[in-house]
Amino acid sequence: MIYADNAATTKMSEAAVKTLTELIGTTYGNPSSLYSFGQEAKEVLEQARADVAEAIGATAKEIIFTSGGSEADNQALISAAAIGARKNKKHIISTKFEHHAILHTLKKLEKEGFEVTLLDVHENGLVRPEEVENAIREDTALVTVMYANNEIGTIQPIREIGAICRKHGVIFHTDAVQAVGHIKVNVEEDNIDMLSASGHKFHGPKGTGFLYVKKGIALTNLIEGGAQERGKRAGTENVPGIASMATALKESVANLNDYKAKLTPVRDRIIAGLSEIPHSALNGDAVSRVPSNINFCFEGIEGESLLLLLDDKGIAASSGSACTSGSLDPSHVLLAIGRVHDVAHGSLRLSLGEDITDEDADYIVKSVKEVVEYLRGFSPVWRDLVAGKTAFIL
């Protein structure tokens, strides 16, 4: 199998598996216990915190471990909203193509009286910093913009947006789930106040993640209970999982240059190959893009049938088609960059892993070409397009 769905989840690294399996058997003490066996677990936990902090240019006290990216996103937004509400600031700026962990939390905050401005991401899938600045008001409590988009891989001008937020004294959060461990992220240089990340997106275990919170920003608890995580996230810490995530992150960050050098040409090879398919289009900017991501729309076909046939050919990928989500609408990300429904249903996301080869890339291109041609062969939509009864969009 060629696993090309690394934006969904990644294979754990050998070192991360080793850390997890060793600690799960040996270091089962409760880090909150005072005897030395518990304190050993505490040491492992705090070393992981220091490692995670170092990987993103933060200090250990600024890291809160969570169950994953979604929890971190929820806590960041709810915390910033609470800070804003205390100063009667109830306006939040975000974008149309955020992850649902952000968008659904914003919906909840809207019901609680917050006003949300969702910025356009334009055809190339990039937020424009000047539009962030124009949207900031006296009562803006928070700006939250994802670092890299999970579907189309576009990397946002985070540093510029962060600088604007600093200038206006607005808290800036970024959902960096698809960025941390994949591209260089430094919370100091990037002017970030809060950042969410997820362990299983960079070869760590599922059920792990963290929230970076700049010193001085008060967090609101989502989970009440014990005094773990400086009283900001109750529940006995998943020590083996957290340590394993830290192992994976250290490794990924140390390897960033090689990762980029290896994946970028393979990514571009696939993009060039798929561009040869008539009436297709790359989704998202070709340059400001994570090295692993390829996302295309093919006119006249539907994404789920494309995925199933690629699966038969041993390729695991994903799509923004409605049929793959169980809803009637295709991906909100593709709609946000201006793809109409008809075209958005025929999308394919490939997210590569480090083990991809040029041969794999060529096999993927060949397979997608075959399947698209096959499906178009009995698509009434394609027939009408070719016959000139309807106009091509792509």
């Binding site: 539907e302 409605a322 049929c323 793959t324 429904h341 008809d342 009995f378 698509s379």
Partner: protein, 126 residues
């Protein structure tokens, strides 16, 4: 547990009666590309018998499989029988569909109904 039954996958991978029927005397199209499913049914009816049937589908795996199964269920059958085809019959013949995919079988039923209506209104003299 796979997403679909073996039968759905079989009809999806090897769709029966796929293509265009040049001498069809009843043609029906249902669905729209905005929702991600379009089915087109071509019927050749002679002496009140569905002598031949073909389909074209833009849609997901279960939409393609539902179209394929629906054509099998009416091919060679009297028009009266074809008219009675229900979406449940299509879904059952496929050994079931996931709940959120049942609309695919509805679409197959409606495509056949639309093609029969076209035959009644326009095709009988062809």
């Amino acid at each position: 547990m796979a997403l679909y039954s073996e039968k759905v996958m079989d009809h999806f991978r090897n769709p029966r009666n796929v293509g265009v029927l040049e001498d069809a005397n009843g043609v029906g199209t249902v669905g729209n590309a905005k929702c991600g499913d379009i089915m087109k049914m071509y019927l050749k009816i002679e002496n009140d018998i569905v002598e031949d049937v073909k389909f074209e589908t833009f849609g997901c795996g279960s939409a393609i499989a539902s179209s394929s199964m629906a054509t099998e269920l009416i091919k060679g059958k009297p028009v009266e029988e074809a008219r009675k085809l229900t979406n449940q019959a299509v879904a059952e013949a496929l050994d079931g569909l996931p709940d959120y995919k049942m609309h695919c079988s509805v679409l197959a039923q409606e495509a056949i109904e639309a093609a029969l209506k076209d035959y009644e209104e326009n095709g009988k003299d062809k």
